[in-house]
Symmetry: C2
Subunit: 391 residues, 2 copies
């Protein structure tokens, strides 16, 4: 069991009646606000108008950066940095999902340095992130957990890279989590978000690191929460209970609490990032396709106990069955959930991906060496996992 440091000072306003605190929270950091968002969805649901009204009422000066993409790109970050410097921005307000918040994190860091923000991500440079402008966010999609963690992932279409980075100064200061802001999320995006959250938990749960039993219980509770409520939110988009459970689960699936000092590398995320770097598919969808195959590939006599615990505690599989039977059943039940209940596409060809870049993507996923995850993976292992995703 490893030592760890737990420190999440983000202040979270959870619920539907908190937006009137937005002005006061922003003003703690200054008067010049850069609001960042994606496409038009926040205007369609009326959130944009409400936010602007709060900012105006608070007497703050508002600047805007719109058009942040899903799988956000370094060019959006560069544009945000330019605006921060030009307008002497005091505080960033990200209104959107993980993509908007991720981009905003690197804008916040980039505004404090003189070099190109891609240098934070470029694996040959990894420029230090010592400062960032304060970030406040209003979450509109339950998925990435970016609202309560210090990480983000940025794509660079010029280099074909999609790279993540974690740095404490990028942790949001204040997050507004209002489940009603996710009522308009489509069944498909709700499903992708659920797959993303589940993957965050699997990456910590399927590990050979010695674990705190307490955290196992919490992870299993998060999985059960997502499995219970994602289908409800898909059927009844304005079911508050479902949206609230998914929203709070998204934050706790990746804010660091459940890792409890585990050091092992993640597996499915690095592989998926290579897929979406080239093919620009939705992150959660890519994870859904990869995950059950990765589980199958890693299952052996040494690892089977973890699958048994997962199958029994999350899916309620009869604990008296043979371990390998439980493990197979658990993987099948997960597949049935992802591709049946959530109706996500289940193979790479269905999302337009063929074998062309398998070798290239696999090599990048393991960074030319070994991915030291649940089961260590070399390039050839990743290629085999991708091959399993073909049908």
């Amino acid at each position: 069991m490893n030592d760890f440091i737990y420190h999440i000072p983000t202040k979270v306003y959870f619920g539907k009646g908190h937006l009137q605190h937005l002005g006061d929270e922003l003003r703690r950091f200054g008067t010049r606000v850069l609001m960042t968002y994606g496409g038009g969805s926040i205007k369609r649901i009326g959130l944009y108008d409400k936010v602007v009204a709060e900012i105006r009422n608070a007497g703050l000066e508002l600047f805007e950066l719109s058009g942040i993409e899903p799988n956000p790109r370094i060019d959006s970050v560069r544009e945000g940095v330019r605006l921060c410097k030009e307008h002497h921005i005091d505080v960033l307000l990200a209104v959107g999902g993980g993509s908007t918040i991720d981009a905003t994190k690197f804008i916040a860091a980039g505004a404090c340095v003189d070099f190109d923000p891609w240098d934070f991500l470029d694996i040959t440079k990894r420029a230090p992130i010592n400062n960032a402008l304060p970030i406040v966010d209003i979450l509109t999609l339950s998925a990435t957990g970016s609202e309560m963690d210090a990480g983000g992932v940025i794509s660079n279409p010029q280099t074909g890279d999609k790279i993540g980075r974690v740095a404490a100064p990028m942790l949001p200061k204040v997050s507004f989590l209002d489940p009603t802001n996710t009522f308009s999320v489509s069944p498909y995006q709700t499903a992708c978000g659920a797959a993303d959250m589940l993957s965050h938990i699997f990456e910590e749960y399927f590990t050979t690191d010695k674990d705190l039993f307490m955290l196992d219980c919490f992870m299993e509770g998060l999985m059960k929460t997502i499995i219970r409520y994602a289908p409800i939110a898909m059927r009844e988009p304005d079911n508050y209970e479902a949206r609230a459970n998914l929203m709070w689960a998204s934050s706790w699936a990746i804010n660091g609490f459940i890792d409890g000092g585990k050091q092992q590398a993640w597996s499915c995320h690095p592989i998926e990032h290579e897929l979406s770097a080239i093919y620009d598919i939705t992150h959660g969808l890519g994870l859904a396709i990869i995950t059950p195959r990765w589980m199958k590939y890693c299952l052996n006599d040494t690892t089977v106990d973890r699958y048994v615990q997962f199958g029994v505690n999350v899916f309620g599989i009869d604990a008296s069955l043979e371990p390998m039977v439980i493990a197979d059943k658990a993987i099948n039940m997960l597949s049935e959930f992802l591709f049946g209940t959530l109706a996500l596409k289940s193979t790479l060809p269905e999302v337009g991906i063929d074998r062309t870049n398998f070798a290239h993507m696999a090599r990048k996923a393991v960074q030319g060496d070994v991915l030291h995850g649940f089961v260590p993976l070399r390039q050839t292992d990743v290629e085999k996992i991708l091959e399993m995703c073909m049908e």
Copy 2:
């Protein structure tokens, strides 16, 4: 489902190899440190010497307040406040269990005002707590959760009061949670700590407020953790896994996370505080005696569902049984755990309490009116619950 604000900026160093950070963390707040502790136990286990060495190595100036009692008293708080003012203390370092940390919280607040610190607690005054000196703590007992919350309870033998108060400025800035510092905790104190933690969870779990399913899962996970590891820690005092799980569970049982906006008053804690205010028994022991009786008293057709969920999910009782059968079984299994497995005394006479003060204690517990908890309790209800504790 109620809105809530989640905000716990406490930085937690969890594990056995972090003490070398103590000097740096204290120095963030200044150079003049008042270390507070209880009896001699921190000297016996060698912790005192290690802490003093770290403080000296960091070049900080050390002052001390020792002798803080279990069920800490206002006179210790007053003495601490006097020392803070006399020596212009910058930061408080509490080394001990919940009693030491609780007292230190009110010392920290009292050092910032000119009036008597009892005014913070006196229910006729409730003086505002707007500031407090920064608090760092090193936990030596897993029980109260004081290391990660903003509350504390102080006794006043002159008035016969034992009163709690929560105020954000009293939240510890940094907590060192090293499970090895609890290796020397006796089986009896380990059991009392477990009973205290369980009660913190029950007070939030047994509620008629609409709940987040996710938090139910977490609460059930915490209960299972405590039920699993308390007996192990009693048998094998230096079992790191057991001590680590109990320690982290103690913090999460009461740091506010699991309440998720629930507004209902607590029940067993107010009743127990009246017991220990007069009889000075260990808080966790008092809670253990009261809890199963309170559960029995509150069980009816309206409340039974919660008992069923508890029995099935925590004790694994067969869900196909009749609800009332499951509920009774669950209460019996809890009693068996507290009085059998944990070997705690099970009745008030066994701890030297007779009926003399029942009416008085019951009236104070409900503050002369109604305790609006899981089931509303009037003075006569509390008297009946106390009567049930007689055998």
